[in-house]
């Protein structure tokens, strides 16, 4: 292979762009779904009836102790068996990441809920609020605010992890770079370029999170 040739990057840009779009979509869907599911899991674990609480704890611990690649492979194998027809790698990836990230977000939300002082919840009950009102109006808003930087950091990790859909062949940024590299016979430039894109996105996001952390710290 000759010296580096960066001219191949230009014609492959539209293709890489569609790949990046999928990575971003996957991240956003898994983030929103994961935070909602994760919060429910955390609530079930903290204040649900015993069987529900145990089940939630087991789910979270199970997901957290298996490598993500294996979880991706599991879902890709099992989902078609359950619904009885094949699903595309893209849909499978969306379901997998939502379910997987829910476990990690749930641990963050659990810490967040526990970080809200007990008096807050008690004051809510004293005012006659129900459990649901208390959570929705008093505890969760504070938990979210306390945990915002951690939730965002987890989302950056999630964005990096989306590259693992390579295992089932979904077309994300990395897979697009992989294919373009093979088409133009320039894999080295393509891998380098995708690394640069990932780095720029993740680095600027984490710098943003650091600034946010300073601005949104709750005054005590």
């Amino acid at each position: 292979m000759g010296p580096f040739d960066y001219t191949v990057l230009v014609p492959s840009l539209p293709f890489l762009w569609t790949g990046l779009q999928f990575s971003v979509h996957l991240t956003l869907i898994a983030m929103s779904g994961g935070i909602v599911l994760g919060t429910l899991l955390a609530l079930a674990r903290l204040s649900g009836p015993k069987p529900l609480s145990t089940a939630s704890a087991m789910y979270v611990d199970l997901m957290r102790s298996i490598p993500l690649v294996m979880v991706i492979l599991w879902f890709f194998l099992v989902i078609p068996l359950i619904i009885g027809k094949p699903v595309g790698a893209e849909y499978s990836a969306i379901i997998t990441f939502t379910a997987f990230e829910a476990a990690y977000y749930s641990e963050i939300m659990r810490a967040g809920i526990q970080s809200v002082s007990k008096g807050q919840a008690m004051a809510g009950y004293a005012l006659g609020m129900t459990y649901g009102q208390n959570m929705r109006l008093v505890v969760l808003p504070q938990a979210f605010r306390n945990m915002l930087p951690v939730l965002l950091t987890q989302t950056i990790i999630l964005f990096q992890d989306t590259s693992l859909v390579y295992a089932i062949g979904a077309k994300d940024l990395l897979k697009a770079a992989d294919i373009a590299g093979k088409n133009y016979n320039r894999p080295v430039e393509m891998y380098l370029f995708s690394a640069v894109i990932y780095f720029v996105i993740c680095f600027s996001l984490s710098a943003l999170v650091k600034r946010l952390q300073k601005r949104y710290a709750v005054l005590r």
């Binding site: 102790s65 690649v69 294996m70 891998y191 380098l192 780095f199 984490s206």
Partner: protein, 245 residues
């Protein structure tokens, strides 16, 4: 649900071969453990060094350490594997490059170990730095006031404390190494995930295959956890509260 269960699959012979599927799984388990332990050693040495350097008053060294951590933290692990496997050999001088590409023994294993080791070193560096910074300022000052040089202060005062404080986060990092080693399938290391995909395709008994592999990963995580907790209990700093497990 048209799935044919066949639990005896582990002892069946692979298609067109003499080995059993069980031997594939054992090979995979061996490579997973080998990669994880070797890269853990690299990560501990490098991460400890870089994390320590990042707390010294040497400005340029701190910058270099920061850059190291940011570089390895902001690129997905899978992309890093590809960079080490496909890109780095191209950047080497011509003779070395040819040797690496054609003759280097256990090329996949070495690449994977270096990649995972450096990736983990950045994360350990972050924890070592946090551990040293969590010590009261007075400890460093006291060391220097006793007439210790800066290296002596680190050697006798700061590091012995910091190392013991950061053991709990190191435990989860050690378990992460085993999980992260699964990404090495992408460059063709014959570790567990690679074997899982291969066995699933060959035998078409996906559930049994993945179940066995998942259990093996569980065993790795469990043993790693127990080992670290054992070390933690023996080295706990008296008077410091550590989460009892």
């Amino acid at each position: 649900m048209g799935y044919n269960w066949h639990w005896g699959i582990y002892f069946d012979k692979i298609k067109g071969g003499e080995e059993t599927y069980l031997s594939w799984l054992i090979t995979g388990f061996g490579w997973t453990v080998a990669i994880s332990l070797c890269s853990w050693i690299i990560a501990l040495v490098l991460g400890g060094l870089i994390g320590t350097v990042r707390t010294t008053p040497r400005r340029w060294a701190v910058r270099l350490g920061d850059a190291w951590v940011e570089l390895f933290r902001n690129i997905p692990l899978l992309v890093q594997f590809f960079l080490w496997f496909f890109v780095v050999p191209e950047l080497l001088p011509e003779k070395l490059s040819l040797w690496v590409k054609q003759e280097m023994p256990a090329k996949e294993f070495i690449t994977a170990t270096v990649c995972l080791g450096l990736f983990t070193s950045a994360r350990i560096a972050e924890q070592v730095r946090a551990g040293i910074l969590s010590l009261p300022r007075g400890q460093r000052l006291a060391g220097l006031a006793m007439g210790f040089t800066l290296p002596q202060t680190y050697r006798y005062v700061l590091l012995p404390m910091a190392c013991r404080i950061i053991l709990p986060p190191l435990t989860s990092e050690f378990m992460n190494v085993f999980k992260n080693s699964s990404v090495a399938f992408a460059i063709g290391v014959l570790e567990l995930t690679f074997q899982a995909r291969q066995m699933q395709e060959d035998s078409e008994q996906g559930i049994e295959t993945y179940l066995a592999v998942t259990v093996l990963y569980f065993i790795c995580a469990f043993v790693a956890n127990r080992m670290m907790v054992w070390i933690e209990n023996r080295t706990r700093v008296p008077g410091y509260i550590t989460a009892a497990k």
